[in-house]
């Protein structure tokens, strides 16, 4: 059953706007050299962090389509009637969202690092950090999407909720990207794991509480 839900969400994302966050990610990465100037050494130093800021802003884009359409259309109600716990539905949504967000972002990080003029070492550590961090980002996005589903101005509210909660990921992720060593990567993995493990329960409770 969960496999069917994941397949459905992946199909809808690919048929919809899965490319949008990736395009946005590259766009933000392009803006950084314009904003701070073409100083190669400066870009090399801040590049890992800039990639992460681009990833965070890209993670905001899909939030409105993650939970709200299914809530408004009664899909979440029907899934509950089929005996699926809201937490399982949230878990399926997180898995499907990561599948259509994480790998694409990793691919986009390669041209992104070229735009920022990053060296091969920084690219390699950035890819590792993004691979470890994107499950946490995807889980956070689904939890925030469930919390704001059905509210007016949900998009802006979601940004206010997601960005502060993503700060720990940002700190350790950016440190791991900029050669902070395996310690930063391990701490990032721990944060990502904690968020991924907790998010289905937060999202599940939010879906239940949002029923009227």
């Amino acid at each position: 059953m969960i496999g069917m839900l994941i397949a459905r969400d992946v199909r809808r994302a690919i048929g919809g706007a899965a490319w949008l966050p990736v395009g946005f990610f590259l766009l933000v990465a392009t803006l950084v050299p314009f904003a701070v100037g073409p100083d190669a050494r400066l870009l090399e130093r801040i590049g890992g962090g800039a990639l992460w800021i681009a990833a965070l802003t890209a993670a905001l884009l899909p939030i409105e389509r993650l939970v709200e359409p299914d809530r408004a259309d009664g899909i979440l109600d029907q899934l509950a009637l089929h005996g699926l716990a809201e937490e399982s539905v949230a878990l399926a949504k997180i898995a499907a969202h990561w599948l259509t967000f994480g790998p694409l972002l990793l691919i986009a990080a390669v041209p992104g690092s070229v735009l920022l003029g990053l060296g091969e070492d920084v690219l390699r550590s950035s890819l590792a950090a993004l691979a470890v961090g994107t499950p946490g980002l995807a889980a956070l996005a689904v939890a925030v999407a469930a919390l704001t589903a059905g509210l007016p101005r949900a998009g802006a509210l979601a940004g206010m909720l997601l960005l502060p909660l993503a700060v720990p990921l940002l700190i350790f992720g950016a440190a791991a990207s900029s050669g902070g060593g395996s310690g930063a990567l391990l701490l990032e993995a721990a944060v990502s794991l904690a968020i991924t493990a907790g998010a289905p329960f937060v999202a599940g409770a939010a879906i239940r509480a949002g029923r009227t």
Partner: protein, 189 residues
């Protein structure tokens, strides 16, 4: 035989207003209940309570696994109707009932049409076909006649009759009269 739906002393409050209090009802296999009442009297809330989507303030509710047809279509709009209905049938493991349900609601010719192009009456038929294909013994229908034409109403009547004959029960909330033999519950008095 175990009832398919039982309310014991159920009280429901929405938005600070008490909609009903100490409500008792029992639905045995083969029985049908028409919930009537003016707008805002709690018909939809009663259906959602019976579905387990709302919690009662007090009282106990026991139910068999229900199927729900309400205002929300709950079908993927970008998919052809047949596939959109097929998703729920596969999820419930009742794919064998799908073809019969689509034909019973007169939707066979629309199976390849994307859901987003359906008219509101066709969407209602699709929603009822989803319930018919679910294989659930307890059907919960919220305003099932909305948008249906004469043919649709007749088909719904036939579907209801065969569901009851096969030992199913249903609750329908409707402000319009329903054809056939229904027990009646009036809310908001």
């Amino acid at each position: 035989m175990k009832p398919l739906l039982r309310f014991e002393n159920v009280t429901l409050r929405r938005g600070g207003r008490r909609l009903f209090e100490g409500l008792n009802l029992t639905l045995e296999p083969g029985e049908a209940l028409h919930v009537a009442g003016p707008n805002g009297s709690g018909k939809t809330s009663l259906i959602r309570l019976a579905a387990g989507l709302l919690r009662a303030e007090a009282g106990r509710i026991e139910r068999a696994a229900p199927a729900l047809c309400d205002e929300a279509l709950a079908l993927d709009r970008e998919l052809p109707l047949g596939r959109a209905l097929g998703f729920w049938a596969r999820l419930g493991g009742t794919s064998d009932k799908l073809r019969g349900a689509i034909e019973a609601m007169g939707l066979a010719a629309l199976a390849d049409v994307p859901v987003r192009l359906l008219s509101s009456g066709q969407a209602k038929r699709a929603s009822l076909a989803r319930v018919a294909a679910s294989g659930a013994q307890l059907w919960l229908l919220d305003e099932p006649l909305n948008g249906l034409d004469g043919d649709g109403v007749e088909r719904l009547g036939a579907l209801v009759a065969s569901h009851r004959a096969s030992g199913g029960a249903l609750v329908a909330a409707s402000h319009a009269p329903l054809a056939g033999d229904w027990a009646r519950l009036d809310l908001g008095q």
